[in-house]
């Protein structure tokens, strides 16, 4: 206060009127260090202030739906991995649930618990990646390494259960690909302790940091009504103060058996979107621990010859088993004609799959409802009126993942 008053008293009158400026057009992206993923943002600037913005997406379009329509239901899991590639497990789970809904079957209880565990691990990875990018792009590089280190621990765990670090393709229609390995529970719990420490470290370094707060608070405020109209879901919608979490409001798998809280923001600014994700990570850790306490013994996959491939013993040694295996791999699972929309809480919000079947082994239509596509519809509004330097933190809080936004 004191400083700004003094400045005003010594400034010349023409400085108060502001410098004469000229409108300038600036292109950010498609390939730019701050647009992780390729997105093109065209800005109209008055000095440093953004007066207009146009967002162009689509640079990472790979024809997800077209590919899905050409492949069998089982073959599509690797494509879903590449939608939101920081939380592939959640995409796997969402897709599997959609096909199962259309089939009218449910995976065994143990498989559903495993799906919840790997799903929450993926959510941790997603939010860690988000917080790493968020702080690094604002100049704080140390917490970036901490968060990426923690994500790597989680990838080790996920690699152990699925065989792949990034693109897991672990979930199957009617269950999961394999049971939890021996000693995996203990190693996961030990990893979660490390991750918890890292989250605490980021929290201590960033959340009350003066510079961080100044750049995050009251920047890119988005109201409840606008957020709903723009189809926002997930941490961003909750940051704007709307209490909607698919896990709480439409429980799928066994989320209704878990005890967890949904963090809600109040201001709808960048800071709230950050804080909501930080709290969600703590909730996810608690959920995984509860799952480990509750998980029952039993099968990790359905045994239905129409849906799952038979055990290797059978397909190698019996003609029926071989034919069964062949039919499912080549012709695909025959899904009765009809349509179904399934939605789960993905890393960025409601991740929906709308599948239309014509009764064959390949979907007639396999639509992914991408949460960050909906978030990106609002970016133009969020940027206008702010400084150009606010673009990077604001874009980060939306956590746009090109693979999912552009499909």
């Amino acid at each position: 206060m004191y400083g700004s008053d003094r400045l005003r008293s010594v400034s010349a009158p023409e400085l108060d009127e502001g410098m004469p400026t000229e409108e300038m057009v600036l292109n950010v992206g498609p390939s730019h260090p701050a647009t992780h993923g390729t997105v093109h943002i065209k800005l109209w600037l008055d000095g440093e202030q953004v007066t207009g913005a146009q967002v162009n997406v689509g640079y990472l379009h790979r024809g997800f739906e077209k590919e899905c329509e050409a492949h069998t239901y089982g073959e599509n899991f690797p494509y879903t991995d590449r939608l939101n590639y920081v939380s592939p497990m959640l995409n796997n789970v969402g897709y599997a649930l959609a096909v199962e809904k259309l089939l009218g079957v449910e995976a065994p209880e143990r498989a559903q618990y495993i799906r919840m565990i790997v799903g929450e691990l993926a959510r941790l990875c997603d939010h860690l990646t988000y917080s790493a990018a968020q702080v690094a792009e604002m100049g704080a590089f140390t917490p970036f390494f901490y968060a990426i280190k923690a994500r790597d621990f989680l990838w080790d765990i996920l690699e152990e259960i699925s065989g792949a670090r990034l693109t897991h393709s672990y979930v199957r229609i009617g269950g999961v690909a394999a049971d939890m390995p021996d000693g995996w529970v203990e190693r996961t719990l030990a990893t979660l302790v490390q991750v918890e420490t890292v989250i605490k470290e980021i929290d201590t370094l960033m959340t009350r940091n003066r510079i961080f707060m100044d750049r995050m608070q009251n920047v890119a405020v988005f109201s409840k009504e606008e957020a709903i109209s723009h189809g926002w879901t997930g941490p961003c919608l909750r940051g704007s103060g709307v209490d909607y979490d698919v896990r709480k409001d439409y429980p799928y798998l066994f989320y209704d058996r878990l005890d967890f809280e949904v963090p809600i923001g109040t201001a709808g600014d960048n800071m709230d979107r950050y804080l909501v994700r930080m709290e969600e990570m703590r909730q996810s850790i608690s959920m995984i621990k509860q799952c480990f306490d509750q998980i029952p013994e039993g099968d990790y996959q359905l045994h239905d010859p129409r849906i799952t491939i038979p055990p290797k013993q059978q397909s190698y040694n019996t003609i029926e088993g071989l034919i069964n295996h062949f039919k499912i791999v080549v012709d695909g699972i025959e899904v009765p004609a009809g349509e179904a929309y399934t939605y789960i809480e993905g890393g960025n919000g409601e991740l929906g799959f709308y599948i239309v079947s014509d009764g064959t082994g390949r979907p007639l239509k396999c639509r992914c409802r991408p949460p960050c596509f909906m978030l990106m519809t609002a970016l133009e509004k969020l940027l206008v009126g702010h400084m150009i330097a606010d673009l990077v933190p604001t874009f980060d809080t939306l956590n746009m993942i090109g693979g999912e936004c552009d499909r």
Binding site: N56, G63, K101, I228, H230, G338, Y341, Y354, R369
Partner: protein
């Protein structure tokens, strides 16, 4: 999904509802194409329905199934206040692929409708900005149509004017004008 909401919609539109079903618990109404705007407004603003969020907007091409009309535009509605959902669909014939826009009812529809135009070639009447969104401006055709071959390749290059004119002449009413240059990077 919500049965009560579906019943109210049927009661409200009467003959405007072509068919309904609740396959796998997803209440669905196929309604008359001309009613989509008024129905959406009514569904959003009526007490007890309050579908304040458009969860998803997409289209389906039933070409391979030989169904008439060929396309369907699908709206997934969601009420955050009452925690209920409803699916509304409209049939769109191939020869007149136009639907009224809903992007002033739910703003998210702006991009979703652009995507449907881009991938299926269904136009939305009164949409403020009917440009392609995922494919590039020069792209010829609509890739999610079933008659667009999956392995067809279209290298991106600057086309001579006569080629564009020929392409436009060969596709009357397609309305899409292929542009020039790298995706309006420089023109302001």
């Amino acid at each position: 999904m919500s049965k009560a909401a579906l019943d109210r919609l049927v009661e409200h539109l009467r003959d405007g509802v072509i068919s309904t079903h609740a396959h796998r618990g997803d209440e669905t109404a196929v309604i008359d194409r001309s009613l989509i705007r008024s129905a959406c407004l009514w569904l959003r603003d009526t007490e007890g329905l309050e579908f304040n969020m458009l969860s998803d907007l997409t289209a389906v091409d039933y070409y391979t199934m030989g169904r008439e009309p060929r396309f369907e535009v699908v709206y997934h509605l969601h009420s955050l206040t009452l925690k209920q959902r409803l699916r509304v669909k409209v049939g769109v014939p191939e020869e007149d692929p136009v639907v009224d826009t809903v992007c002033d009812i739910w703003q998210v529809a702006n991009w979703c409708e652009r995507e449907v135009w881009d991938l299926y070639g269904i136009r939305f009447k009164d949409h403020p900005d009917m440009r392609r969104i995922l494919m590039y401006e020069e792209f010829d055709g609509h890739p999610l149509r079933k008659d667009y071959p999956k392995d067809k390749r279209q290298p991106l290059y600057r086309r001579p004017q006569h080629e564009i004119d020929e392409a436009l002449a060969g596709r009357p009413g397609s309305g899409h004008r292929p542009g020039f240059g790298p995706r309006n990077l420089l023109e302001s």
